[in-house]
Symmetry: D2
Subunit: 243 residues, 4 copies
């Protein structure tokens, strides 16, 4: 008797089963990609709110100009033009905590803080006194507000999905302003994490969603790079020591 190594999908000669459904006979043509992403990740089809906000969050984070990871990917494609997948991989490798992964840290913080019932002021003070920074605050360009963060919060309220994690994210904004003596930009990472948790997603979704979103942005930059190459120009501008 065979063992079953994964619950996600299994291919057979005449069909592919995904999460217990028939891929060609049931899913293809009926569910959109966003719903399918939800099904793959969780095993269930999304509610309307889950689908709406999964779309919203993927759109919010996919692209933000010539970010470091797009620069690295375009340089990589210039050096190895035949490997689109290599350049995508190089770009995704820059999806670390500093640039993109803050939403996972935000999700972890929110989950623990809400579960423990600790006051935002206490959580913030503890982080500050330990010499740390609260994830999800600050942005080099968007000041005083990150328009994407505000839009997510507004839509969460408008559609009635704001729950304890969104409330805690907002309370953190005030606590951070008090603790640091000035307001800091609530960037897109914190509302993304809060909404995902309020909609029932696990913490890992707060990292999976930005990685998937950013892959779309990378593919757009790499398609453009094939038409209008700037990869070596970017590398030259970066490295130029002249003056």
């Amino acid at each position: 008797m065979g063992e079953r190594l994964t619950e996600i999908s299994e291919p057979f000669p005449d069909r592919v089963e995904v999460r217990g459904r028939d891929l060609a006979g049931d899913l293809m043509g009926r569910v959109g990609f966003t719903e399918y992403v939800h099904l793959l990740l969780t095993g269930d089809e999304p509610t309307d709110d889950q689908r709406f906000f999964l779309d919203l969050l993927l759109v919010s984070i996919a692209e933000h100009g010539l970010m470091p990871s797009n620069v690295a990917a375009r340089i990589t494609l210039a050096a190895d033009p035949s490997s689109l997948q290599g350049a995508v991989a190089a770009g995704i490798l820059g999806a670390g905590p500093v640039v993109l992964g803050a939403s996972e840290e935000c999700a972890r913080l929110l989950e623990q803080a809400v579960a423990s019932g600790r006051a935002p002021g206490d959580v913030t003070r503890e982080i500050h006194e330990a010499g740390g920074r609260v994830p999800g605050f600050g942005h080099p360009l968007h000041k005083p507000l990150d328009p994407r963060a505000e839009r997510i919060l507004a839509l969460a309220d408008e559609r009635g999905v704001s729950g304890p994690h969104v409330a805690y994210a907002r309370a953190l904004r005030d606590a951070v302003a008090t603790e640091w003596g000035k307001p800091l930009t609530l960037n897109v990472a914190m509302p993304m994490a809060a909404v995902l948790l309020d909609l029932g997603y696990p913490v890992v979704a707060a990292k999976a969603v930005p990685i998937l979103a950013r892959t779309a942005g990378l593919l757009a930059h790499l398609a453009e790079e094939q038409e209008h190459p700037i990869g070596f120009l970017l590398a030259d501008r970066a490295a130029l020591t002249g003056g």
Copy 2:
């Protein structure tokens, strides 16, 4: 005066412009992720047919069980559990011509063949006589039909988007059967390429679409790996020389 390095997007302090639109003010909450992918890649919002088939193709190719790239990604996450992005990158690196990239070769073949007006039998014979194989034919498991390929073709007909590239893909099926003396499975790569071309997408989309789709499948496997680790088991089973 500043130069403009990319046409895709540009961030400003109070907004992010993507393809000339305001990300937070216009796109977020209005367009879904699939439409946004189309906008990022092409600069325009999709027609209904483009959105429908982009969804369909992304769904068709995202996941197919414990494929080699999913195995490689799960092994990589087991070895470095803190780097989801590293494991995704490792999985994407396996998205090469043998496993996933056939659709790009199919697109190139279809584009040239349709543009040149050459007969499918001539194209097939030339490839065969050169000792080659026609891309998009044959599958180790799905015989005689790949259910995903058939579903794509049926929906293309049903919605009236089948054009010269879909017709050529079908003609190739007959030509291949004649040339090799037996029918070979038309796998999912060829209808995917044909439909993308008939809908006006560039050849690069035939590689970008599977990479984005597969990233979703990888993320599902890696989320499962975090809950139920099998990465080292997979590596052990692969390497076991005993008996």
Copy 3:
């Protein structure tokens, strides 16, 4: 006036300067690769002992059979045969803390413990009571001794380079046996870290050395894969659910 972004090297039309030396005129043909690695990493040429042990450690850790990262790399090359660099990258991505990176954790532990003067028994007990494991102990195959670890310690003694970090590594072996009530294999990671620190290398070397070493092993497996492909066989064996 130009700024200087890196101290490592600078190319000019008629020469390449590396760490202040003329690459073609001075280094090429005079220094071996191991000495050059030392020069690149540290800015200085190595002493005889540094060169001997850098060679030793690189040799000790480069290859260990069909390890998970070699499996992942061979699967990746099978899927994308034209990209040797992609398969190497996939293999290196598995060089994380579980499989390969333990030496960096060992170096950090040894550096702090020796600097603080804390007793090995106290350090070990603290880790145990916190539910943790001491890095560098335990091996699935090599029991009760890891032959590579013993050889490194013996040569460190023989050549008189054993200092406080090697002494601490040995003391940890006894402390771990006492704390856990049974001896655990001192694996190759701990002596590697200890010798590097006693020879004056920074902590980062304890991760750089295994990554460089393992790249050589990966390249050997990938050269063999090109001659005798087993990548898909490995993936099939891993994924096979039958019985």
Copy 4:
């Protein structure tokens, strides 16, 4: 009975066998890393000439300033500081034909040309007439000579290892100058390929050697990046559209 999947190495509880030798008992402390690389790749220990030139070639190609792949790797480490292996992987992914992989193309060209006995002028003319470029010629900075290439050729003559492939590389220099009507820089890729072939290495070595060498350069840049971070500065300089 167990099958044997790889000829490179096999670990046992009390020893590790590499290419039929006992790693701890025989190789560690006796062979240097360069000799070990040769043993891993080929199955044999190198002759003195093979070791000398393997060292020479690894040294010649490891580092060349803030090259595109070093830029991409430093940007990636800045974005994900905890993953040295991720940043190395990103850097290696840029080791494609344009920047680094020309030596493999040179090796393929030299092997076929020498085996076929075709005249350099004919080979060059055919490439030119097909609209192509001869690999290994031209360099954006090193003009009219690449000092590394000249040094390799001089040492190959001096130590008596120059054979038919080195002779052909030299003849190509003249043929290219005649065909294009002006001399082009013979860059480091061509002598590297020629010497490897004259010393009996397979074509794959012409790609493996630069990848291993470049990994050392990447590790030096990433160690420096940890001490003196410039990754985000590089990305900013690259992307800056202002003026």
